[in-house]
Symmetry: C3
Subunit: 350 residues, 3 copies
Amino acid sequence: MEFTAKQLADFLQGTVEGDLQAKVCDFSRIEEGKEGTLSFLANPKYEHYIYTTQASIVLVNQDFIPSRPVTSTLIRVPDAYKALAALMAVVEQTRTKKTGIDSTASIASTATTGEHCYIGSFAYIGENSSIGNNCQIYPYVYIGDHVTIADNTIIYPHVSVYSGCVIGQNVILHAGCVVGADGFGFAFDKETGKYTKIPQQGNVVIEDDVEIGANTTIDRAAMSSTSTVIHRGVKLDNLVQIAHNVEVGENTVMASQAGISGSVKIGKRCQLGGQAGLSGHIRIEDDVKIGAQAGVISDVAANRTILGAPAIDARDFMRSSVIFNRLPELSRTVSQLQREIEQLKKEINK
Amino acid sequence: MEFTAKQLADFLQGTVEGDLQAKVCDFSRIEEGKEGTLSFLANPKYEHYIYTTQASIVLVNQDFIPSRPVTSTLIRVPDAYKALAALMAVVEQTRTKKTGIDSTASIASTATTGEHCYIGSFAYIGENSSIGNNCQIYPYVYIGDHVTIADNTIIYPHVSVYSGCVIGQNVILHAGCVVGADGFGFAFDKETGKYTKIPQQGNVVIEDDVEIGANTTIDRAAMSSTSTVIHRGVKLDNLVQIAHNVEVGENTVMASQAGISGSVKIGKRCQLGGQAGLSGHIRIEDDVKIGAQAGVISDVAANRTILGAPAIDARDFMRSSVIFNRLPELSRTVSQLQREIEQLKKEINK
Amino acid sequence: MEFTAKQLADFLQGTVEGDLQAKVCDFSRIEEGKEGTLSFLANPKYEHYIYTTQASIVLVNQDFIPSRPVTSTLIRVPDAYKALAALMAVVEQTRTKKTGIDSTASIASTATTGEHCYIGSFAYIGENSSIGNNCQIYPYVYIGDHVTIADNTIIYPHVSVYSGCVIGQNVILHAGCVVGADGFGFAFDKETGKYTKIPQQGNVVIEDDVEIGANTTIDRAAMSSTSTVIHRGVKLDNLVQIAHNVEVGENTVMASQAGISGSVKIGKRCQLGGQAGLSGHIRIEDDVKIGAQAGVISDVAANRTILGAPAIDARDFMRSSVIFNRLPELSRTVSQLQREIEQLKKEINK
């Protein structure tokens, strides 16, 4: 497929600056842009590449003001990154999807599958489970008993969904993620020094439009009437840990290797950086931003941006970090002041 | 099933405070307690919920003194959390377990399986391996060659147990965990700048009553006569890393995403917080508590509680953290003192 | 098999110090050395064991000078660890490898497999994919469509290689690792507070001689003409995260649970400690050492050794850490100085 700048601008409701007939047939990153490709500029850090890129067309934000001449044709749109997403989604839809139920799949006689599903080789669907329409269940997906999966959901290879879990529509579960393993619940016996397992009898509920990264783990809730809940629109990266009875609010995102302890409640539209960790039983309100590697040990009010371990206001943390880096100097200064004061005392008492 | 307060108290050897005939048929969390459910209060942080919960019965510790009136019937027991575990275990035992060997399972002719086992669809059991009695081997479990698994062990889907490993009885391995992959052993060649693999020829030994979380990885030992050992009663959460030749002492527990480097030896009844990391070749003695995200780079004596990176005594770390948070202020104070001393010097030398 | 000190020294081009006829038939760790075993001393931390070990022969570096008498026979070689690796590799080669294509494997009619391959039970190889000669593809390995795998590569159970990825020769992928899952790319819509998925249409390229640990995840690049690249000789430990469009330079190694954000470029021969985290869009030059748990948020010049979060020069970090640990004391000293200065002011103004 090949498109002209004019065609793309019409589709995106943007305006062309340059050659209306410039043609592209592929995407490229701006730093590697070649003739015949479409690139984009969203992160200001990459602006300098726009003056040298060979990309034929570059999507830019409406308010972008070049500081030097640009040879590529520009298409101005309200949000260059969103426009790119829209174009890539069009390409994505042209890809053929797998269909049909593979003869090697093991589907319980009491399970049901919707229309137009792909059920791959060796997939396993347990008793009384139901799969919605247009789902894609890849090879080696394990769906336990009494699991419900709604329409248009994609489950990649080697995902395990333990019994009793509920998964919404338009959900994507990437390879190797585990939904519904037992929470980490044990009662310690002081006399014997041993731990007794608390059976984990709740489930996991994943609402619509959620995407879960590869090898991420989401534990089932402890008690039979309770759920670990991932609300609508949440996006979790790879290798994230969500413990039992956690609730993650709508449209919250977590970068890779973040870890959430048991019974934490996280609000809507929060952002967690990579490797951030949250202690158990705390509450994070809406629109909180938690920096990478932060360690959060208490409740956080809405709209805060925090960093460090234990986490504090992000700007305060960065200010303290600057001083941390010159602590040896500060310490020497204090020692010097001590000596000077001793000297002054002597002089005064002379 | 429905039980009265009296029946439960008799079973738990506790005492009822309130309506002996109060009935429950399910569990609930105290903050969400509904009529007809049994809840519990163990964490003092949740005490305020006991005054408003709708749970018909609440398990409390013997010494609990309410500060306000409670409408629920109370059952006093020595340890409310342990009592809960006991009741949940009773419910758990009423659940039907899967049995039988699925026709799609691939079991080597030289392998043996005990009585009353469940071997799920597509399970794989290699040459000369043996599975004990009453084991549950879920779909897609990979058991390599020469593996021994004792009685009553449960292995969830997508677990890999590499060749030569030994697993005890009453062990639970959650989905996706990997037992016995190669340790990270390479010899660096300064001349070529390349790494040469050190073949990893030892194994992993997991003793009785161990539980391993989802997607956790435990590497095999380097040398053929050595083992990475997880001793009896250890509980590891999800996404934990145990490197080659590590030894984890009895009844030690690790929260999610903790990482243990090669040849570390950890004592009995230690507790590691989430995302804690231990450097290689160190020794942690018994009953040590290592806080979340701690970075431990040297040996730790018994009974210590440590935190921070590099980890120090936890209380010292918290005290230093408090000052860290106001380092900019401390720095300004020091600068001010410098100026004042300069002024004093001038005044004295006037 | 049994070897004498003389035979081993000849093979390793080393020199014997002690009994030329000392015999060994197995390896051992120096702290557990038994008669009839061969051990080695490379890490000076273990030197004290050489004076008590029961190992019959110990490999040592040429320049090792014992401070006390040693009873074991020594073999001096230029690099004891490398010599050990060479001997273990010889043993490794005597092990029989699995061969043949299992009848339960699902191989697309358009896929090709080389000579002398092992394709295990339930393995899945998608459309138009090709597997080189002498490869070992274990049970439950998922190879998507249009994947290329070169000669002598070993892929352990439960690995997922998504469509379009390219894997070199002599590569080892450990159990459960995921190659080519979607990168974490979403466009945030301020108006709706929702995220729109950016389709991830690039791939992952893994060059020759790479080893990837268990449950590690490597995301595919975002744009169709781009790749996440793991260059020749790279070794990644377990549970590592590599985000989309990252490039890891030749012979770089990463310890477990390290996490690399999107579009990071890492040079050659770098070393990353466990749980280290790198922010997106930064560039790490050649021969950089990044300590465990470090948080790197900006570019790093060649040959630097850094530590801490945000990471600084490692020695500076350790110096500041020492002061951090006595911040309460420093703070008290400053308060004391304030009081003394107030006192001096009074005295001067008397």
